[in-house]
Point group: C2
Chain length 236, copies 2
């Protein structure tokens, strides 16, 4: 399992098995991720293994483990499209400030998963249904990479809840578009869809939240009366 | 496959194989649905078969086919919790008029899938990832049973698009709650969650939609200041 790990660490790419598939300087990590993606698509998360990914990529399993701590991390990376750097995406999102953040968030996420007509998202979706630990790993990965950074920028109270609500919506839109393929959602461009969905996301991120502290919803100290001046409740 | 179908049709429950498991007057359809649910949970949609469900329920496959036209219809029924009658749910939803429809919709859908801590929804979710034809069948089933009826009551233009947007959000919330189990979403009661999500759904159903009519959406003045009277089209 961990044989040769030391040798693999630190630019050890060139030492991988000499199969004629790993020229020096090639993007080894990228190749591993691509192999993981193919493995996932063919076997699903439960059937996929680090060893098999190493075989597909033509490298030693230790090299895979050099780049990815465990199976969950490897396949999480495989589900993010090539070239997408979460930190960079988030940075661009936040550049424009809070104004229009909802629409920018929607557009960014839609565009990330637009590749190959959503094929990669469907792979992710299939994996989500497969095993509990993986679901957690993926959620944590996405949480760390993207959502936590946006939350950190929100000046509103209940930032975690706000981000969870926005994320719920975004996930649903991706599923409607790429898995259920609802014609109304799947048939439009990302710009238009982002414009339609943006206001709801914006509402979650910076608008008032329902104040639900009644009997059945005990203390539930959601956003009470905050805002710049007024995140007033729109319930009762 | 279709042996004995004639005999099975029309209250033929009592004629099912005398295995001592089908007393007259029992809820045969309910038993079949329960068997289908168990089958789904154990084998997933792709592995599940009508014949195997019949065996589990102790009935002839023809009897299963008497109640359910095909595999998709059988398993679609299995994914709706026992005792839930979609037409009735929709009726209650619409009783209160358009006011607060978003929150009522959210609460109804949440409650339907709240059983067994969402176990049934996870079964549905797993099935969704499994096979393309089934995804379509499920989407159509849900569409026919629920969404089409709500759409029919909407006085707003673009009713199908509105319902698709609302449905996308609802699906996302269910996934966040029962599959991803995001703590902020999974940890609260259905009333509170419905109150939080309701306004966004209401906005989709009866509020202004982003105006995105240009080539790549030039004019795109997001939800400006519209009112009830101002349901200007955002298409063409």
């Amino acid at each position: 399992m961990a044989d040769g790990a030391a040798g693999a660490a630190g630019g050890g790419e060139d030492q991988a098995r000499p199969r004629g598939r790993r020229p020096a300087g090639s993007d080894t990590r990228g190749d591993i991720v691509a192999a993981a993606r193919a493995e996932l698509a063919q076997r699903g998360y439960d059937g996929a293994s680090v060893r098999s990914v190493a075989r597909r990529a033509g490298v030693d399993p230790a090299l895979v483990r050099h780049y990815f701590e465990d199976k969950a991390e490897l396949f999480a990376a495989a589900m993010v499209p090539t070239g997408v750097e979460p930190a960079q995406v988030v940075g661009q999102l936040l550049e424009g400030g809070l104004d229009g953040l909802g629409e920018r968030l929607a557009r960014a996420v839609l565009e990330v998963w637009e590749d190959e007509h959503g094929e990669r998202f469907r792979v992710l979706f299939g994996a989500l249904g497969s095993s509990e630990p993986h679901v957690q790993a993926m959620a944590q990965f996405l949480g760390r990479q993207v959502f936590a950074r946006v939350v950190a920028e929100l000046p509103t109270p209940d930032a975690d809840l706000r981000m969870a609500l926005a994320a719920s919506h975004v996930v649903g839109v991706l599923i409607a578009r790429h898995v259920l393929q609802l014609p109304e959602i799947a048939g439009m461009g990302t710009d238009r869809l982002a414009a339609l969905v943006g206001p709801a996301l914006q509402g979650y991120l910076t608008g008032p939240l329902a104040d639900v502290r009644s009997p059945d919803r005990p203390t539930a100290p959601l956003a009470g009366a905050h805002t710049e001046e007024d995140y007033s409740s729109h319930e009762e």
